[in-house]
Symmetry: C2
Subunit: 716 residues, 2 copies
């Protein structure tokens, strides 16, 4: 088993991430927040606009971009911006906003200031040697004034960051114009009912409905459903649209937008659905078909998994499609309802992403958006646990990507958030929910006490402090490294004395007024295993007393089953977990799921599965956190995981766990690690990194070095 | 003399400021910052865009507006917004974005959430009884989530503010469309020179140049001057424009904007000038006249002053015009160069405003903009002293307006800024310039040491702490009131022991490493008089040893002459000050000033007066801080000033100071106070407030109550 303590990360990753050059650049995090605002403000609830209830931050409206260049010969650069701008060469401002500018040979300081209130100031520079990229410095405040004599101020304390970027490498693809990709899709079945028509698109999908050959005058009612029941329940379906056809115009009654009637009309806001139910009202108002523009983030499935069990294969495929649908501008929760970025959901998407897309930009964008800007006025998404998952997500990102540069860039925001948390601790140095804090934990099918010191919250807090120490070190902040290390150690030392109950043989759920409650839940216990906060004996005890104990409240969200099953895998219980996966995710598949759900209770039946939040169709049937088999199969069956940041070193410890054979691939910064296993042999290949195959032969654990670029086959 | 200690303000002002109703509303400060960004980013320097060098904040992109209403009968409201929105009645979201909405009779909670990334979310509601106004609550983060059962969270700790507004009372005048007023003006003289043409608009002015009958193909060079020298010095004038006439199009070469050639072409960015010099280049490129669209903020001259001395009368008029030109969307510094909002400049505009326009909205807008949003990352405008003037400006605003509500609204921002200041104090609890801080003091014609503890900065800091204590009390924050009172007392107690030098009979300029410097400047001494930090003996000593001592470095900015002369007036030296005004502001008038300047050194001659910052025309010839006679004549000659907030009580202590007669009016929240004085009698009238006329008859000071609404005449 891997030593999971953060000390494993002291070695700086060997991979040098190249500075992206000749790409649109901006103040790091700013474009991400702007795009996030756009996305988070697209939610609707039965035709009403439904924005988030937390603070949404904005971009800095004036940003200075700068670079020092050394030119052997004069160079003419092409400049494009989003916003009005000026150019300063060696401190001298130039006339106007030229799209071409020539620098003489020699060493020069080039500064370009861009102002834009509506969208993030962005810059694109292209020359023979001078190209905009992450090696440009940016600031929102250069503090450069001139004194009475015309002398410029000392700007040595001005805070400069490295420019942010993504993949806008073409001068014409300016960042604010970004859109997801689209492609047309048709319904696979159309059912004409008494009052209207039901279109079935065959599986859960997302996009813009297209109404064909609208005519007459009247109203078209459009009801969406992840299930046929929802689409046809006009009074309760979660999303709907209403349009008016009137004198050659189409009016969207939710947004009041108008366009001229044409062959087809595409709705303005994308929706999630499998079914669309249409009713028309008014004289001769009709349409003859509904299709859609499927909207998606282009992602490549780099990871793969196949085995002898077709149910597991289907589970992996449905998981991958679930993650594809919820991987949009950012990693979102689910596509039907919130379509918001939630930190606790995102941290799981990140982990699944490392076994499917390995899309680092998506992780970074989501992390910037969630982190927001100071001042911190609430927990992330208002949820205390979600604040902690944000820190943990950065730790995981560094482990999988080796991207130290990102850690250094986001570190100031981490400090602000941790300062907020530390400003709200109690006399024990522990966190308790205060008025305005949402202590979430899980959507449980039973009472979860949210009062006092919750053991789960302390465990997550402790891991966050450890993450702060790691990131402080990576950022060269020795003082903070030492401070956070001490705080983490102190908190960790209290976990057992405060929460361990020898009768229950478990960490209890919470403490109120210094007294342990009698309640035991799975949450803190499974995380304490994952984070190595329990010793081997305690782990084995907890396995029996909690994880495999049927009298402890069952978890019915894939969200927390993720960690529950991971902790079991972590203790080598893959065979048990395979059964659990087949019962739980297999259960959803048997209920006809085409994507995985927000919540699933095997004891419920029929339309009970659709209800949540007191609403008959409140549940999301395509929820990112539903897709965890992707992660479990890659990490604990194929058995691939980094042991040093960015797969500089890694381990492959394949476990069939009841399968006859399996094969698959896991993406890394170097390329792929491929694993194929039967009961009699294992074959591994790798594109880079120092790998170790861990296999058990004749009851003995063996460690075998994995060569780069050629297959290693080991007989078992 | 009025007791100037802040304790005078413990009484809550008796004037109830009515909640403005049926007006466009927004999150307080947000529209102000957005409009401020627009204005501060209009500066140009010889055709280059020149934005501020400090952090510019933005509006919250999603704002919730709410109100609880009690309706006797159902009511239909009209709703307009800037941004997309939803409506929630008693917690239930309504379909779409209706412009009309009917509430049933009874008690209801109405919530409207508006989202707008580009411009501040704004709302206008009009009904029979329900009208948008400052009695609506706003938040950027309601923290209202729902739990699994659909129950809404406890939002009792959500931070709500009162909605901000100005004067957008019409549904069609949405805030983001605000523009200043314009009117056409013609040049009063045109001079055809060898290479070009010089247009003289007769006096300093501001607006959009209009070029008439442009024709041909080629370039038109437009050079602006506050002086004829500047306009004709193509290589050194501070502002210029260049346009291209080409194939029926006009291209602004600074902004790349293009329009079709028409009868006249109006430049896109407004400029300050008295003179415009035009040269054309290219085949047949010509124009036949240049006029302008004068751009201004509509203000009413409520204050007035007239006396027997025509030079003083001209001084008052030129001062009023200077303040008119620099009173734009906000109080700016000067109209030619920066056109930015600077705190040290603004605090003087506020004071002059109280004696001319009494435009409270302009003060509040400027204060919101300068205060910015947390986190505080630098002093206001990067200048330490400017941070302190911001606090002092709020104190003065409360004194003149009695607007306690504004104090309460801005108080959280005051706390953030003071926290920043307190985080940077030294072991003595004093402020010293740190790297990145601009310690400004003044543009002096000699060396000013900016190192160590400057006495001026401590005096301003102390007054700021006193202001914090006052505003904490007005906001009901007793703990902070006590804290700031103690801090102010402690700092004040150190001023004499640390800075008083018995040999110099003055406060020395600064202390470095615990040792007094030998330098004495006027700054701290005059402020210490104004703030009553010196006792009567010390004041009289300083008057001789510093203020009337020719060997102490003279002040050559109207900026610091403002306080210098005020401190002399404060000690009853009006006769001396009258002479100084005639020498100094009279000096500028004799040099042909049509507005007052940024700096004036009577020892300089000719074009020396135009130079500053090492540039031949660097000086601004229309600078708000030049207009201080407006304030001095109103406060210390007419002698009118509030003694309780908002003129609930006030004093009229007229002093001819060498004049034969004078008459004038001073605006108050109640209307006007009119004063007329000859050597033999004083006549006063007032529209409200409890006034006291203070006159000296036969060597004895008498206090006479001023009746409301009828004239009081007192023989001297």
């Amino acid at each position: 088993m891997i030593k999971k303590q953060l000390l494993a990360l002291v070695f700086v990753c060997g991979i040098i991430l190249p500075a992206t050059a000749q790409t649109w650049i901006w103040y790091p995090g700013d474009y991400e927040m702007w795009l996030g605002n756009k996305m988070n403000n697209h939610r609707t609830d039965r035709g009403a606009f439904f924005p988030p209830f937390w603070k949404q931050d904005s971009h800095y409206v004036t940003v200075e971009f700068s670079k020092t260049v050394e030119l052997v010969q004069p160079e003419t650069i092409t400049i494009a911006t989003e916003g009005k701008y000026n150019i300063k060469l060696d401190g001298k401002m130039q006339f106007g906003m030229p799209s071409k500018f020539t620098l003489p040979a020699g060493k020069h300081h080039l500064n370009i200031k861009v102002h834009n209130q509506a969208t993030p100031p962005a810059l694109y520079v292209d020359g023979t040697t001078i190209k905009s990229g992450s090696d440009w410095k940016v600031t929102y405040e250069d503090k450069e004034w001139i004194d009475e004599s015309g002398k410029a101020s000392d700007t040595s304390t001005t805070l400069y960051m490295d420019a942010g970027s993504w993949n806008f490498n073409d001068i014409n693809s300016c960042p604010s114009a970004f859109t997801l990709k689209q492609q047309p899709q048709e319904a696979i079945a159309v059912k004409h009912l008494k009052e209207g028509t039901l279109y079935d698109f065959g599986k859960e999908t997302f996009g813009y409905p297209v109404l064909h050959h609208l005519s007459g005058n009247g109203t078209v009612h459009i009801y969406y459903g992840e299930s046929p029941e929802e689409a046809q329940d006009k009074a309760h379906c979660e999303t709907l649209d209403k349009i008016q056809v009137e004198n050659g115009q189409v009016i969207d009654l939710a947004t009041n937008n108008r366009v001229a009637l044409a062959d087809s009309y595409t709705l303005g806001n994308s929706k999630a659905f499998r079914y669309i139910y249409i009713e028309t009202e008014g004289s001769n108002c009709s349409l003859n078909n509904v299709s859609m523009q499927y909207e998606y983030m282009p992602e490549t499935y780099k990871g793969s998994f196949r085995c002898n069990d077709e149910e597991i294969n289907k589970m992996w495929n449905v998981g991958a499609y679930t993650l594809q649908l919820t991987t949009r501008e950012f990693f979102i929760d689910g596509i039907k309802r919130d379509r918001w970025v939630w930190s606790g959901d995102a941290v799981q998407s990140y982990l699944m992403n490392y076994y499917l897309f390995f899309d680092n930009d998506e992780v970074k964008r989501t992390t910037w958006l969630l982190g927001g800007k100071p001042p911190v006025t609430s927990h992330i998404n208002t949820i205390m646990d979600y604040t902690f998952y944000w820190f943990i997500g950065i730790y995981n990102y560094y482990l999988y990507s080796g991207d130290k540069h990102f850690v250094q860039q986001i570190y100031p925001r981490m400090q602000s958030l941790m300062q907020y948390v530390l400003g709200r601790t109690d006399a024990d140095g522990m966190v308790e929910g205060q008025a305005g804090d949402w202590v979430f934990v899980d959507w449980a099918d039973g009472y979860l006490d949210k009062h006092g010191q919750l053991s789960l919250e302390q465990v997550l807090f402790c891991r966050s402090l450890e993450t702060m120490a790691t990131c402080a070190r990576l950022s060269g902040d020795k003082e903070a490294e030492s401070k956070y290390t001490h705080m983490a150690d102190a908190l960790r030392a209290k976990l057992i004395p405060y929460f361990w109950n020898e009768q229950k043989k478990a960490l209890v759920h919470n403490r109120i007024d210094g007294k342990q409650s009698t309640s035991v839940t799975r949450y803190a216990n499974m995380f304490a295993i994952l984070f190595d906060y329990l010793n081997k004996d305690q782990q084995n005890t907890v396995k029996k007393s909690v994880l495999l104990n049927d009298s402890i409240m069952h978890i019915s969200t894939p969200y927390m089953r993720f960690y529950e099953l991971e902790s079991l895998c972590d203790m080598g219980q893959q065979s048990q977990v395979l059964k659990e996966m087949k019962a739980y995710w297999g259960g959803m598949l048997r209920e006809g799921a085409t994507t995985f759900w927000e919540k699933y209770n095997p004891d419920e039946h029929g339309t009970q599965h659709l209800a949540m939040y007191g609403r008959p169709y409140g549940k999301s049937l395509c929820h990112a956190w539903g897709a965890s088999p992707l992660y479990l199969l890659g990490k604990y069956y194929l058995g691939v995981q980094p042991t040093k940041p960015g797969y500089e070193e890694y381990e492959v410890k394949p476990v069939l766990g009841g399968l006859k054979w399996m094969e698959g691939s896991v993406p890394t910064p170097y390329g792929l690690i491929k694993v194929k296993m039967t009961k009699s042999q294992v074959t591994v290949s790798s594109d880079g990194g120092k790998g170790t195959l861990v296999v058990t032969r004749k009851g003995k654990i063996e460690h075998i070095a994995i060569p780069v670029g050629k297959e290693l086959t080991v007989k078992l």
